[in-house]
Amino acid sequence: MSVIFKHSKTGKNTVRLPELPADIAMEIPEMYLNDGLDLVDVSEVDIVRHYTRLSRMNFGVDTGMYPLGSCTMKYNPKINEDIASLPGFLNIHPLCGNDLSQGALRVMFELNQYLSEITGMARFSLAPAAGAHGELAGVMIIKKYFEMRGEKRTVILIPDSAHGTNPASVAMCGLTVREVPSTPEGDVDINALAGMLDSSVAAMMLTSPNTLGLFDRNILRISELLHKNGSLFYGDGANLNAVVGTLRMSDLGFDIIHVNLHKTFSTPHGGGGPGSGPVGVSAELEKFLPVPLIERDEDGYRLEQDSPDSIGRIHSFYGNFLIILRAYAYIRSLGGEGLRDVSRTAVLNANYCMSRLRDDFHLPVKRTCMHEFVLSDKDLPNGVTTNDIGKRLLDHGFHAPTVYFPLLIPGAMMIEPTETESMENLDAFIDVMKGIKKEIIENPDAVKNAPLTTPVKRVDAVTAARKPVLRWEE
């Protein structure tokens, strides 16, 4: 049975509804009312079996190593799930007033402080519901900053290695993206950059470490060039896991950053969200942060809506509180030393895997990596591709790396083991990768036809896009 609708039959649903306190007349005129629904009619047992079965068709961090580069698929501590299930957090209404929500406000206020301590940024807004949302807020701040200064700057520079959300966020603000090339060693081409800087450049967005898993060796120089040009420097902090506790993003010269709580701070990714992407700024830019802010005074914590230069509101309420809460708990369980250990172990694990796989697969940039590294399918025999390798990994109980990203490395395989994998797991992964390499040479079809042991075989995405079927029809 594929979808829940297939279990549907009139009369199967025997759910009992609560009873009304009295006989009450309906007050909505007939003309507004529908005459019944066409959702589904199934039993509770059907539901439990169906979604249990679906869950078992999924791969998650709890089922195995998930080296999906740029996504930081680390272990999500169970205690944080329990904390986020406490009724006093689940049921608190965002409009109940400051006095009744001191606990929630405290969590948000303190997490904001922790993020400042961790990144060096003066202040954060926790409103962004994901990384891209944080970027959008960041670009809005950039735009507003120059508007207020009366400068007409409409260009945002973005390296060719950037994540797609960077240019997309810029476009949503009506600004223009200009792409900065990288050197063969994976740094920003600093000469090209220098040549692009003029009075139209509002800012540059840079992911640090970048999406090749490398720390840009010219980063302080880049920051200098930008600031000299009167431009702002935006840091995409999605890869913070590599440097958390080891350095502060502010020390790299960033004026604005966002961080992904659903990566570095271990909140589960939920099969696509919810996440949380706080945006943090330097002291000079604080006044532009989205409203509301959270303030503390003798009476306790309060929401502050009044911020005349703010870019405005960007969320129905205050952001993804229950995700924020998990990140808060995570930081409290690790402390400063623990966070430093995160980045050091993440970097150690990645370099270990790289050192053991570089002879088997093409390593486009041969440098010490940070928390992740990129291999490619260049020079593989028998027409085997990155996609094939990813699929074959699934057969062995590993998730695939991020594939074909970053775009500047053709056939990229971006591998991020994270710090929560043990050496045994890394070795198992490495052995499987080496085994696949052997298969590519000796029995390429085994790789090209993979996966064979997954709940479904290779899925036809082409037909799906060509003749889209986007909802179930009986």
Binding site: M57, F321, S355
Partner: protein, 439 residues
């Protein structure tokens, strides 16, 4: 604490790497910026101490009887929702990029899309948006991009926070928002029409609107279409869809909003569950993820992310939106919730309405006056002289009786927006009435 590389592991790993120490791995970072001492954060806690700490923080939130709605609704969450959405294969997965090991997430999202289409009477629904406000903002942008116009006409009976968010988004994107005053708690089509000009590409209302009143959305759609503008309806209390006529059938082009009420807790306002459903014309313009039906190599039914050329990771600065991570797990919760109630969701919606009517009548009995006469779903506005003091009295007795509207609409001073769902029990209602007794 969640790492498990032992000292001896570290040694052999460094050897394989060819590095003398972990510090060496950070050699690309200028020494000047490497932190010399650990971050100044509270000391690490044991799990037990952490849980105690968090429970003490939790207790500093109050747990009042609440009649607050206004975009975040308290509905009973059937036990199956937590149990099934709590299966770790669901919540520890990433976005389903590898369909062969993600059929669970993909199938559930496909079902969610289907259910949202069936509830709205529209053709395409996406896999979720951040929340109702950004769903409305992105719907407006989608509509204006589609017909290449610059202006959206919006009812002022749209949630004030939502109006602020669309101003933020439209402002940044270079679009103009024109607000139309409601009258008598609803938005007159004639007033909308007056605000429309040739640059108007979209009209947006909320239904039930911020006052809980049911709008005449057929008339709104008609007037929008008369000017070749898209008709957008935002819905914040999704249970209303189960009782009212399908907006798609009444001519609405885009229904967007908030589906938190379907199986998701309020959680201080987040995560919420934004969604967009639209007519087929928008299929390639809709923001966010879409799951499509297809087959695998063996010809078996399978699901996959599709029409990805709309999205940022392919289209970059020409994508329909920048959204990447969305609210997938909330959508999963919603689809389990909707399966649980199934077609009986209409009965539940009716229960909500009647419970609200019941509370309203009791309040009238205590001297409150209803402010609007238009029909409402499960939320309504009442007036009381010197409302602020009654409100404080309620709060001191553990009840938040609703939302004071004076801050949002000065003309509605002394007015209270009251929401009653199935969760508001008779005991709670009695307690409220007893408080009023003493006034």
């Amino acid at each position: 604490m969640y790492t498990s590389i032992t000292e001896s592991d570290k040694k052999s790993m460094l050897k394989s790497i060819g590095a003398g120490s972990v510090d060496e791995l950070f050699a690309d970072i200028p020494a000047s910026i490497l932190l010399k001492k650990p971050l100044d954060l509270p000391a690490a806690l044991s799990e037990m101490a952490l849980f105690e700490h968090m429970k003490s923080v939790e207790r500093s939130n109050a747990a009042p009887i609440s009649l607050l709605g206004a975009g975040a609704y308290r509905h009973y969450i059937p036990a199956v929702v937590n149990h099934l959405a709590g299966r770790s294969e669901f919540y520890t997965a990433y976005t389903p990029y590898q369909p062969e090991v993600s059929q669970g997430t993909l199938t559930a999202i496909f079902e969610f899309q289907t259910m949202m289409c069936r509830l709205t009477g529209l053709d395409v629904a996406n896999a979720s948006m951040y929340d109702g406000a950004t769903a409305l903002a992105e719907s407006i942008i989608m509509a204006l991009r589609s017909n290449n116009r610059k202006k959206v006409v919006v009812s002022d009976a749209v949630h004030p926070n939502y109006r602020e968010v669309i101003m933020t988004y439209c402002g940044a994107a270079g679009y103009e928002c024109v607000f139309v005053a409601s009258s008598g708690g609803v938005t007159a089509a004639a007033d909308i029409e007056r605000a429309i000009d040739s640059s108007t590409g979209a009209v947006a209302v909320q239904n039930p609107n911020f006052f809980g009143c049911i709008e005449d959305i057929a008339a709104v759609a008609e007037v929008a279409h008369a000017h070749n503008a898209a008709a957008i309806m935002s819905v914040l209390e999704p249970h209303s869809l189960a009782l009212l006529k399908k907006p798609g059938a009444l001519g609405i082009d885009i229904v967007c909003g908030e589906a938190q009420g379907f199986g998701n807790p309020i959680g201080f306002g987040g995560p919420m569950l934004g969604f967009i459903a639209a007519k087929n014309d928008y299929m390639r313009k809709i923001p966010g993820r879409l799951v499509g039906k297809t087959t695998d190599d063996d010809g078996r039914e399978a699901y996959v992310l599709t029409l990805q050329t709309r999205e940022q990771h392919i289209r970059r600065d020409r994508a329909t939106s920048n959204i990447c991570t969305n609210e997938g797990l909330c959508a999963l919760r919603a689809v389990i919730y909707l399966s649980y109630y199934g077609n009986k969701l209409r009965d539940l919606a009716l229960y909500n309405h009647k419970n609200a009517v019941y509370v309203k009548n009791l309040l009238i009995g205590k001297g409150f006056t209803p402010v609007f006469t238009s029909p409402f779903f499960n939320e309504f506005v009442v007036h009381f002289d010197n409302m602020a003091s009654v409100y404080e009295k309620f709060r001191r007795n553990g009840v938040v009786p609703g939302l004071l509207l004076g801050d949002y609409y000065p003309e509605l001073d002394d007015c209270l927006l009251v929401s009653a769902t199935e969760c508001l029990g008779t005991g709670e209602i009695e307690h409220m009435m007893n408080i009023l007794e003493k006034i």
